[in-house]
């Protein structure tokens, strides 16, 4: 459980994180989405106490991260920026991290095995590929067997194999009942793993919603219909879960909750002529772009 309350971070006159309020709940994968520079990394750094908020608070399992007696048992974090000494071996890096908490050496061996680093564990971390570096970061995040795992842009720059590995890992972590908080600027990637979404742009909270609701609110999966008798078609199509929008006197309707196919069949059944019938699917990517474009425009106006 991560709770941010009016969380704010300013660098000089630039506001990186602007009064964020959100809660990350246990047991699901929560995506933290926003374009580059939206304040995602800064927010994550504040969650683990690397940066101090200018104002507001963020708590992990009811306390500030630094107040926990064993913080690595509360949150495991993979930051976007490299966080390993290039001259130290993967094993020694993990061992030193474990020792701060008195975590036994066999747990170090376990996380090395879990992340598939056995063959390179004794090599200097500086020689690691990007994918291996990510695995090492994730091994460190799992050391304390934390109930919350937080990953900042874990798939950035990875090859397809690495992306797939991360995706499976996230699913498995959530299946284990863990809180998983993953940031990304790629909506398509999030859509595959996240149930819940927190969307930010220019440091502001834009949406705190589910993947399903986000698509629906953006006008996803609607069918555009033009008909000679809109009033009768409305009656025919009406039913639970069906939403019909159309201006009075217009022949055009926007229907959601029904497929183009079933609208066509029903119209034919009742002898209603249709001039146009087209499904309009808004992808998650579009929904996300709409949200963040608004934020950018809004910001442009306020600073102008």
């Amino acid at each position: 459980m991560i709770e941010a309350h009016q969380l704010m971070k300013r660098y000089g006159d630039k506001t990186a994180v602007d009064r964020l309020d959100f809660t990350v709940r246990p047991g699901t994968v929560t995506g933290f989405l926003g374009p580059n520079g939206a304040g995602k990394s800064t927010t994550m750094r504040m969650i683990v106490g690397l940066d101090a908020p200018t104002s507001g608070t963020v708590k992990v399992n009811g306390r500030r991260y630094a107040e926990h007696t064993a913080p690595l048992q509360e949150v495991g974090v993979l930051l976007e920026a490299k966080s390993v000494h290039a001259g130290r071996s993967a094993f020694d890096h993990l061992l030193a991290q474990a020792q701060t908490h008195g975590i036994p050496r066999r747990r170090v061996d376990e996380v090395i095995e879990l992340t598939g680093l056995q063959s390179v564990a004794k090599k200097r971390a500086g020689s690691f590929s990007l994918g291996m570096g990510q695995r090492l970061g994730i091994a460190a995040a799992l050391l304390g067997d934390p109930a919350t795992v937080m990953l900042d842009e874990p798939v950035n720059g990875l090859d397809p194999e690495g992306v797939l590995w991360i995706r499976n890992l996230l699913t498995e972590l959530a299946a284990d009942g863990r809180t998983v908080f993953v940031s990304s600027h790629l909506m398509s990637e999030m859509a595959l793993v996240a149930e819940h979404l927190i969307v930010v742009g220019r440091g502001r909270l834009l949406a705190d919603t589910t993947v399903h609701d986000l698509v629906r609110d953006a006008g996803g999966d609607t069918v555009h219909v033009a008909t000679a008798d809109p009033a009768r078609l409305r009656e025919v199509l009406a039913g639970p879960g069906v939403e019909i929008v159309g201006r009075a006197g217009s022949e055009e309707l926007q229907v959601s909750g029904l497929s183009a196919r079933s609208i066509g069949l029903k119209a034919a059944e009742h002898g209603i002529a249709l001039f146009e019938l087209s499904a309009r699917t808004v992808s998650l990517e579009e929904a996300f772009m709409d949200l963040t474009r608004d934020a950018v425009e809004y910001h442009g106006v306020t600073t102008a």
Partner: protein
């Protein structure tokens, strides 16, 4: 397949209880220090500087005396002790630089982010780094000083500079050398944490220990005698010098002043570590 060893139980009673403690952080810093190749290289270098330059200096004195020619001006007041400790100036650079690397190296590589997420209260990291590296530098310094003296004094035995371990002040002076080098190591650690830059830390270290004493001669003479003994390098040297005159502090006063400088820098480093974003 499960990613974790134990399924995340809703109740936390079954989980092992870990804790961040001072002892744990010390162990972690100990592991970190010895798991880098640069530590071994620099410590060996420091030891070699200390011993080799002492022996070379003793050998030069010995050949100067045995050649029967008048003594070089440099050697006029030489003792077995001052000759064998000639390498201290160079060893302090190696140990001070390694101290800077212990902290600033974490900033340059990004390791500091891992370190501070592991120990988010932060200050135990600085105390542990200072303690671990300070003690290591002290032991290297004491060992190097004794080895340099034992061999150096045997080279110059039978010359006017001859001395032995049993002579008054020799053991104190050798221990003082070790303590001085240990504190230089801690100063390096503090400078690295304060400046968060390897280049910056090393520059300030070299300036403080080697350049400033020279620049002091630009000041009016009356100021020089008031300021000079309290400079880090001069106060430090009083800790292990065998003879003290009106222009230098006593060993104890020198040690207190040098410890004062160390504490001042550590305090600054602690303030920055606790207060500013990593």
């Amino acid at each position: 397949m499960s990613i974790l060893t134990t399924p995340a139980a809703p109740t936390r009673s079954a989980r092992p209880v870990y804790r961040v403690t001072g002892r744990h952080v010390l162990r972690s810093e100990w592991t970190k220090l010895w798991s880098l190749r640069s530590t071994w290289i620099t410590l060996v270098l420091g030891l070699v500087f200390l011993v080799a330059f002492g022996l070379i200096s003793a050998a030069r004195y010995q050949s100067n005396v045995s050649s029967g020619q008048p003594l070089d001006a440099d050697f006029a007041h030489a003792t077995a002790l001052s000759l064998s400790l000639f390498g201290t100036n160079f060893a302090q650079l190696a140990l001070g630089v390694l101290g800077v690397l212990v902290t600033a190296g974490e900033y340059s590589t990004g390791m500091i982010r891992s370190t501070l997420t592991g120990v988010p209260r932060r200050l135990p990291v600085l105390w542990s780094k200072s303690a671990v590296f300070g003690v290591v530098a002290l032991l290297v310094g004491v060992a190097g000083a004794f080895v340099a003296f034992v061999f150096g004094s045997s080279i110059v035995s039978g010359t006017p500079a001859a001395m032995s371990l049993s002579d008054p002040g020799v053991v104190r002076s050798l221990l003082g050398t070790g303590l001085y080098l240990g504190l230089v190591g801690v100063i390096g650690v503090a400078l690295g944490a304060l400046l968060r830059s390897v280049a910056g830390g090393i520059s300030v270290l070299v300036a403080a220990l080697m350049l400033i004493p020279g620049l002091i001669s630009l000041l009016p003479t009356s100021w020089q005698s008031d300021i000079s003994p309290y400079l880090p390098s001069n106060a430090g040297q009083s800790m292990f010098a065998l003879t003290h005159d009106a222009t230098s502090l006593s060993p104890t006063a020198g040690m207190l002043v040098f410890v004062g400088w160390t504490v001042l820098l550590l305090g600054g480093a602690a303030y920055r570590l606790a207060r500013s974003d990593a």
